[in-house]
Symmetry: C2
Subunit: 546 residues, 2 copies
Amino acid sequence: MGLLGLGAVLKSGGLGVSDYDAIVSINIFIALLCSCIVIGHLLEGNRWMNESITALVMGLLTGGVILLVTNGANSHILVFSEDLFFIYLLPPIIFNAGFQVKKKQFFRNFMTIILFGAVGTLISFVIITLGAMGLFQKLDVGPLELGDYLAIGAIFSATDSVCTLQVLNQDETPLLYSLVFGEGVVNDATSVVLFNAIENLDIGHFDALVLLNFVGKFLYLFFTSTVLGVATGLLSAYIIKKLCFARHSTDREVSIMMLMAYLSYMLSMLLDLSGILTVFFCGIVMSHYTWHNVTESSRVTTKHTFATLSFIAEIFLFLYVGMDALDIEKWKLASRSPKKPIALSAIILGLVMVGRAAFVFPLSFLSNLSKKETHPKISFKQQIIIWWAGLMRGAVSIALAYNKFTASGHTEVRVNAIMITSTVIVVLFSTMVFGLLTKPLLNLLIPPRTGPNTPSLLSSQSVLDPLLTSMMGSDFDVGQPSPQYNLQFILTAPTRSVHRLWRKFDDRFMRPVFGGRGFVPFVPGSPVERSAPDSQLGTVTEAENS
Amino acid sequence: MGLLGLGAVLKSGGLGVSDYDAIVSINIFIALLCSCIVIGHLLEGNRWMNESITALVMGLLTGGVILLVTNGANSHILVFSEDLFFIYLLPPIIFNAGFQVKKKQFFRNFMTIILFGAVGTLISFVIITLGAMGLFQKLDVGPLELGDYLAIGAIFSATDSVCTLQVLNQDETPLLYSLVFGEGVVNDATSVVLFNAIENLDIGHFDALVLLNFVGKFLYLFFTSTVLGVATGLLSAYIIKKLCFARHSTDREVSIMMLMAYLSYMLSMLLDLSGILTVFFCGIVMSHYTWHNVTESSRVTTKHTFATLSFIAEIFLFLYVGMDALDIEKWKLASRSPKKPIALSAIILGLVMVGRAAFVFPLSFLSNLSKKETHPKISFKQQIIIWWAGLMRGAVSIALAYNKFTASGHTEVRVNAIMITSTVIVVLFSTMVFGLLTKPLLNLLIPPRTGPNTPSLLSSQSVLDPLLTSMMGSDFDVGQPSPQYNLQFILTAPTRSVHRLWRKFDDRFMRPVFGGRGFVPFVPGSPVERSAPDSQLGTVTEAENS
């Protein structure tokens, strides 16, 4: 009932369809999206800018123009709606993240990623909450309860991985990329789960049992969300493999993949799980099995369609945040004490930096300790980048803040208005200032390889299909030089041997049922399938790139 | 303000996002879409069924189940919203139609298509209006005014090309396909323009001047809508050619194409033009210019993405109509006189058949008269198929009827309830019964080529990319055997010579600016570009298909 019910919002008048204002808004928004893409492309050479910041600035400018035109009545075209964010914009971004991630790197660093994303976020959450409790009271912002402080901790623990990833390069710095990226996803999920848990928390009697309950719920959400995502992904692989759409139509395959991915997210929502985690793992499973069961053209199409949808959603998001930043009502309400939001934002930014430092460096040390000589360690410079790359706060923070501090997108109580404006300031400042400094910092700490080494980057940006090539070539690579397969090896290099066990299991049980790499050209389960998947794929990739 | 404002509709409660019911609805809907695709695939061999009918039946069944579960309180998950239809579902379908149409066939039959689509629809409109005025009064349905009768004429002049096209095959019967399809698009536009014009008509003093005004407005809408679509398409081609996204990213190209296509539609809405016509011509221009300016992978991606979006929108539509058909409120209101809607529907169906016969046969005769010996004429059997293929009424009719006879999706007045239920009956009956009979009728009138001829069909359904191959090979073919280029030729074969003039103009002025076929590999405007585009494309296509 009423879902997508534009009818209710865009009120009908004549057929020319609905609310004139709504159509004007859509037009302006699409035109802005187009110009962001074009301007983002033109600025690409610039070492400071990236598309997120372009979109933010464009959003701010548009908001300013609208403010002037409407004489200060209005600054945004759209009211910020966390539903729009959580139902439409976030799923494609996170799904695409899972779909495109280099699975080998991701799983090799799995433990470190979980450590950073889950434990790290919890540490950051505790520090921000405690810091806020200690420092906010001196400012006399208004009546904040324990629940509010806990929510503030969760809100500002959510990093904005989207922005950072536009700066880091998967080919140049694979370890950093997979760490920061993986952490970002797990972090998003952790923050949202934390926030939900806090909302449902009975703060009246807070004791060890409640804490245990909280931890239990957290682990349960984590586990079930992942299982749901994996199950949906496998189901899609099975359906496409069994029905052999391949012979008939690319449209059906692409439709099924898109719909099933979205279904996994919505099912997760329905069951009150973490949609972000679910859709992320669904993306991983789909790229490991389903994607290999479809035709060539479906592969190219899904690959780029998912990337494009994610790209548009990201730009949309930053435009949106930029426009929303100038919402005049909030500022009016907060401006009776204009210095407070700024002081608050400064405190929060400080807490964010401390909170992040408090887990990045110790956890990196822990992670390095557990690694053997042969495995790459996280250098101090890399630790600084990991710390820096997670300082940005973005749309997740805004969405959570809106959810906590407003009822309907408007901010009636002064303390709420102050919290919202502070959140907006933190997001804008961290995205623009920290974001702008990321590229230079990266160049300073890890100078880009010049001379004969650069072609590796350039060639991967080749005319045709770098994503596709890297995807076909890199997931669960076979050629790992580790022949000693015995008990001692299992003990000394657990991750790697788990990986080998997984490969055996995958080949023996999963592939025959769900397809996957090298499926299409062979009879499923035939010995040829396992003997030379690489050479086979080599040809396919070449044909594609020729 | 409030655009896409889900926040208003899906009311917030906890973060788990919004209205539980809405999430349940989305889940059911996506699951239904998936099952329609799977079932549609399984039934593909069946000579009676097609995906539209599968979706309709699934929608009806689901509606029935919901009716039972909610004890008759509710049958649909979504309220039918013409905004959802006109803003989200129709644009991808029509754009894809323009994008995939075989332009050579379309433009060769351009005059016939316009004759059928515009003049034919007007004839059908007049006959249905007059018939309704004469026959409805005997039934005593209620107080209908002249404006209502005119609207009924417009509503039931809108054919449902979507359903038919799933039965006709572009490769098997190219002439029929291009005629029926082209007519369908022009017809949709004509009906919507007619309907809008009627809504704004001052019926008080209806005289020759008003009629002239009406005709003038109609032509103005037709012309400006087309120009807007062409302009947007050309702009997208120019942007992509000038910026050379190609070297960097497929995502940007695909985003720009998708966004610009949608922008053309929304701009058209904004200017109160016919979005359908605009987005259709935007699709044609994009496939002629823009599509050739992008990288290989962007071509594959856009091709299939547009087709997939259109495919999903179509299934969504039929599911929706199927569910809406069981809306209990309308039936309750109308059922105080249960026979009336059925009698009305029968009359309307009769009028539709007569109205369509009244223009298909005479106009085909006219069209045949104007053709020279060498040109293929429309045989009588083909005329019957054209007549039959346009008898189905679909979502456009329903959307227009809702717009006319309800204020907010509900039907308070009895006469309005009767009109809506009659429309639903006509749509269901024509889609299911006529739709089911189309395939057998086609087989009867034009027996499928068996034996050595069939491979032409089978090979085009090859593993890789029939759409892509046919698209690259067939638009504005160069190899037309018509060497005599003089005044007499211009007089005797106007269409063909216009085509030649267009090609010259295209090569001389358009291609150097907007790119188009064979653009990417060459320096624009170089002589090589024009000398051997076919062989060049041949290689590309082969590489893709290998």
